[in-house]
Amino acid sequence: MDFQVVVLAGGASKNLTPLVSEEIPKALLPVANRPVLSYVLELLESSNLKDLIVVVEGSDAALRVGGWISGAYVDRLHVEVAAVPEDIGTAGALRAVAHHLTASDILVVSGDLVTDVPPGVVAATHRRHGAVVTALLCDTPISGISETGSKDKAKKLGRYNIVGLDPTRQFLLLIASGAEVEKDTRVQKSILGAVGQMEIRADLMDAHMYALKRSVLQEVLDQKDSFHSIRQDVLPYLVRSQLRSEVAKIEEGWNTTITSKTNLIWLSQHREIAPSAFHNGHELDANGSLSAQSTHKCCAYIAGKNKYCARLNSIQAFIDINRDVVGEASHLSGYSFSAQNNVVHPSAELGSKTTVGPQCMLAEGSKLGDKCSVKRSVIGRHCRIGSNVKIVNSVVMNHVTIEDGCLVQGSIICSNVHLQERCVLKDCQVGAGYVVTSGSEHKSESLAKR
């Protein structure tokens, strides 16, 4: 279908500091004991997109990611891994691989996306409207712990994006990231005037899956050297300039071909050049084909409520996604859940009177001592957990040793961590290889080796 896929897998994100390390770049962070990148790759694979470019920040990380991909997806996907220097941003990463892009449209997917929205819908919407960019918007994920009992931790909606849509909800008229919007945001009068009516929503999140027209993308990347990120620079730029488009002209020139112009005229003569947001009552013809050429379209696809869509871009998101993938979005995990609604690998050993509750996952080779209790948690491979250990709402990665009497709640324990006896961790993140001394208590702390 003339689409190329670029997966931006990122590198060592600062937002996830204690979790990611040189050994584990962000792309390989385990979500339900699978690297987060595998969710994207499998989504693409299921959509018959088997020719991918994965861009990783940092050469070490690229090596690791590449190694993992070649191991896991040999014979299944044709993946090219490109290493780019760190901190060049998503736009920079695209710039770095731009010369590999040849298809007419590019699908850019963030490697930390966990979703079941088929990429085809974005691509099809993009094609249908002949858009310059199409973004996947999804409902803002509900963060925080959705524990039924605790009312105090009410579900809070994070504000991610301010999105302006036309009345048909197909066209993107405004996008601003929620973090930037403090008190006010600017809406362009020209766009508002052209469209007549704009719907501004704060409950949508940009899921970082974009379909972009290659010629336009390359042009923008070439011209605007200062653009650092797709989300913060390229997308708002394209949305902002859709009425006085420079790229459309460029693109028109690039596609050359008098034919495409005549096509346009032919079709515009017959009015149905796919409705753009801007002829409120088909205004387009008033200023003729001229306006048709100097505007471009930015579209949005809004994922349905029944679709799961989340990005692993913060520690909270990491816990949430782990919980959801084992819980409500369990079809994503690829595991088959037992009658108790949990996954316990057959090689895992459980001591007597140890309970593993629903929405839990226990990977192979892990051992639990007696009288342990695991609730809504994911435990990785080859963990050794002593007796009387309580693990609630937590993620325990591989090769973790937890000695007797520990309490782990709402925490993330990275690989090779040693929790000595009777330590208590609440809402903590423990970096890889850290040793928590016996009897210590931590609350809302980030523990990592220096």
């Binding site: 279908m1 003339d2 689409f3 959509s47 018959n48 997109l49 088929p118 990429p119 085809g120 819908v121 691509a123 099809a124 919407t125 094609r127 249908r128 409207h129 002949g130 096509n263 032919w266 079709l267 003569q269 017959h270 009015r271 149905e272 796919a274 409705p275 009552g281 088909h282 205004e283 013809d285 008033a286």
Partner: protein, 676 residues
């Protein structure tokens, strides 16, 4: 060339050119019948037959009444060699070969023999062809003598050739070198001839189908080519009759001779008139099949719907409360198809992206209107042709036709085709089929693309302009023009009339749920026209002041029925009652030879939800869950048929015509339209 083409002709026994059966032939055959059919022993093994079957093969077709006597002569001469080659009594054997198909349609035998034979027969064919050329070369020398001998008959090339061959084969001793090879290959030849006999009969007996299935692809292809070659040869022969057995026509002769031989064999063997009758009967049947328009998919046919669903790319879950009278039309749950199709975006690799895009746009309603849909489709096909490359071992003509067929069926799944689109597709397919074989792929693609461009330019865009020119003469100053909905031609017409500074007023009649008239109104107002906007409910009131009604059409059928946006018939009827002339603006490429009396048998159903909802009136949402109510069916028709009685004149690119003249246009200009 001879050596290459001949094998094909050899293999083509099944291809029975009906054209060869000339009016003069039957009597000749009937003559031969009694002599041949005197004995009927059981069929002997094929391999013993060779030489005898030769003789029927030899017999030249009787072409003219004048030749009537001569074939007998030749036939008389034909048996002569037989004894020389085979010592056993020839005639009975030959006759049995002859007999089997006639009396007892022996399917098993003909079945058994022919497939087995096909490879070998090809080999034989090759051999045969070689020596055929040899023969022909030798014959060239001899032909003069043969001609001299056969000079008496004013026969065609074939006859000549056959005669020549008869001579060549019959009298091997005459020519020095070539004869040896001829003799050697004789069995093969005859074998072949025999096999072909069997096959011919198999077909004559109506058992052709299993045979056909069993033949390999190569065979079929060879067959087809042979057919083509034979046709060409026939044409050539027809032209070159007087020139006689000249050298250039030799190749043609070679091919022409073969089928004719076969035919002859068949005819000879077909001692009875029955097979012959079949010969005469079959082709019309075929033609009839071709003529019959492809049956429309009837969606109340459970069986076929199931089948179609299996093939379908687009999710087609049927609507629940289907309207009884319209069950034969597709009634799907609207709103489920688009998301489903979109999510399959990357799975559908076999559909060209531009076609896919157009399909999506049809489905989502982004492109509506007959001309726009047609142009969009053609442009998508042009893109697809541009990116097309013939896969190895396939012919562009056939593969591309199949591809286009795939695309079309995909588009149909997205939205039923309009008649104009059907015509455009017919045009494109005929263009593909008529591509000269000599063209290279890139040339062929270029030709097709420019053909598509030409179609769009001439048949749609130019036609619109011409229509506007014609129609504008009918607008006088002070007129009040009424139009319904939004026809692109009518809009152009109104704008053009305004530009040419005519003074008139426009009444735009509109109807729910599409409210297309609003868009037209907007565009007219922006150009400064004086407009009145009303809904169809008020049409009887507003008609008082109207002096002309201009309507667009989706299609005009050959009984003059105008097939157009639903509501058109109503407007036309009211206008008729008020004696207001009704002018239909329709491009001639939208004409169709079909005849339709009502709008039931062929129509399109829109989304029923649109008519159940009244925008802005929350208090009227009684129909919200209408699908739950079994006693309720919502009917949202898209088209209706306006009887020709209401139509005063149809403005086409060929001028202003009464509705009764539509069939004339269809008949006279169709050729030009489709083949340009």
């Amino acid at each position: 060339m001879d050596s290459r083409r001949a094998p094909r002709t050899v293999i083509d026994p099944k291809v029975r050119q009906v054209g060869f059966v000339t009016p003069g032939a039957p009597p000749a055959r009937s003559h031969s019948v009694p002599t041949d059919a005197c004995s009927s022993p059981p069929r002997a093994p094929d391999f013993t037959l060779p030489s005898n079957s030769l003789s029927p093969v030899m017999i030249p077709p009787a072409r003219h009444a004048s030749a009537d006597g001569i074939p007998v002569l030749t036939r008389a001469s034909a048996p002569v060699p037989v004894p020389s080659t085979t010592p056993n009594p020839p005639s009975p054997l030959r006759r049995d070969g002859v007999q089997i198909p006639i009396g007892s349609y022996n399917p098993s035998e003909s079945l058994g023999t022919s497939p087995m034979r096909s490879p070998s027969s090809r080999m034989d064919g090759l051999e045969f062809s070689e020596d055929m050329s040899m023969v022909s070369s030798s014959r060239l020398a001899r032909s003069s003598s043969a001609k001299a001998a056969a000079a008496s008959f004013p026969g065609t090339n074939t006859e000549m050739m056959a005669a020549g061959k008869v001579v060549g084969n019959v009298v091997p001793a005459k020519s020095s070198l070539t004869t040896a090879s001829v003799v050697k290959t004789l069995p093969g030849l005859s074998d072949k001839g025999d096999g072909s006999l069997a096959e011919v009969h198999g077909e004559a007996a109506g058992i052709a189908k299993p045979l056909k299935q069993k033949t390999s692809k190569a065979d079929r292809r060879a067959l087809q080519e042979a057919q083509r070659a034979a046709k060409a040869a026939a044409r050539e022969a027809g032209g070159g009759k007087p020139s006689g057995g000249t050298v250039p026509s030799n190749a043609a002769k070679g091919e022409f001779g073969k089928p004719s031989q076969k035919k002859d064999a068949a005819s000879v063997s077909g001692a009875n008139v029955v097979p012959e009758k079949k010969v005469a009967d079959r082709p019309p049947e075929k033609e009839r099949k071709k003529d019959v328009p492809h049956p429309r998919m009837q969606f109340d046919d459970q069986h076929r719907v199931e089948k179609a669903k299996k093939r379908a790319v687009v999710n087609q879950s049927e609507a629940r409360n289907r309207v009884e009278l319209f069950r034969h039309l597709p009634q799907y749950v609207h709103g489920t198809q688009l998301p489903d199709l979109e999510s399959k975006f990357f799975q559908l690799d076999h559909i060209h992206p531009s076609v896919y895009k157009v399909g999506l746009q049809y489905l989502s309603g982004n492109i509506t209107g007959g001309n726009a849909r047609c142009i969009a489709m053609l442009l998508a096909f042009r893109e697809a042709i541009k990116d097309y490359s013939t896969p190895p071992e396939k012919a562009l003509v056939r593969d591309l036709t199949a591809k286009i067929g795939n695309y079309v069926s995909f588009l149909i799944e997205c939205r039923p085709l309009s008649i104009s689109m059907g015509n455009a597709i017919k045009f494109l397919k005929s263009r593909i089929a008529k591509l000269p074989h000599t063209l290279s792929e890139s040339e062929a693609k270029f030709t097709l693309q420019s053909d598509i461009d030409r179609f769009i330019n001439e048949k749609i865009l130019l036609a619109e302009k011409v229509i506007v020119r014609h129609a504008v003469e009918k607008i006088r100053n002070g007129d009040v023009l009424l139009t319904y909905g939004w026809s692109s031609v009518v809009e152009m017409l109104l704008l053009y009339a305004h530009e040419s500074s005519k003074q008139f007023r426009v009444v735009v009649v509109d109807s729910r749920p599409k409210l297309e008239g609003k868009a037209l109104l907007h565009r007219l107002l922006s150009k400064g026209l004086n407009c009145t906007y009303t809904h169809i409910n008020a049409v009887s009131y507003i008609m008082h002041e109207v002096t002309r009604v201009f309507l667009g059409a989706s299609s005009v059928l050959s009984n003059g029925t105008v097939y157009s946006r639903v509501g058109t018939a109503c407007v036309a009827m009211v206008a008729h009652a008020f004696h207001v002339p009704i002018l239909i603006c329709c491009e001639a490429y939208k004409f169709h030879e079909r005849v339709q009396l009502d709008s039931i048998c062929s129509n399109e159903l829109g989304d029923p939800d649109v008519i159940s909802v009244v925008p802005g009136r929350k208090d009227l949402d009684h129909l919200d869950n209408w699908a739950e109510n079994e006693n309720l069916q919502l009917l949202n028709l898209t088209y209706d048929a306006t009887p020709s009685d209401y139509v005063s004149v149809i403005v086409t690119d060929y001028g202003l015509i009464p509705p009764t003249s539509v069939p004339v246009i269809v008949r006279e200009y169709r050729r030009e339209q489709l083949w340009m």
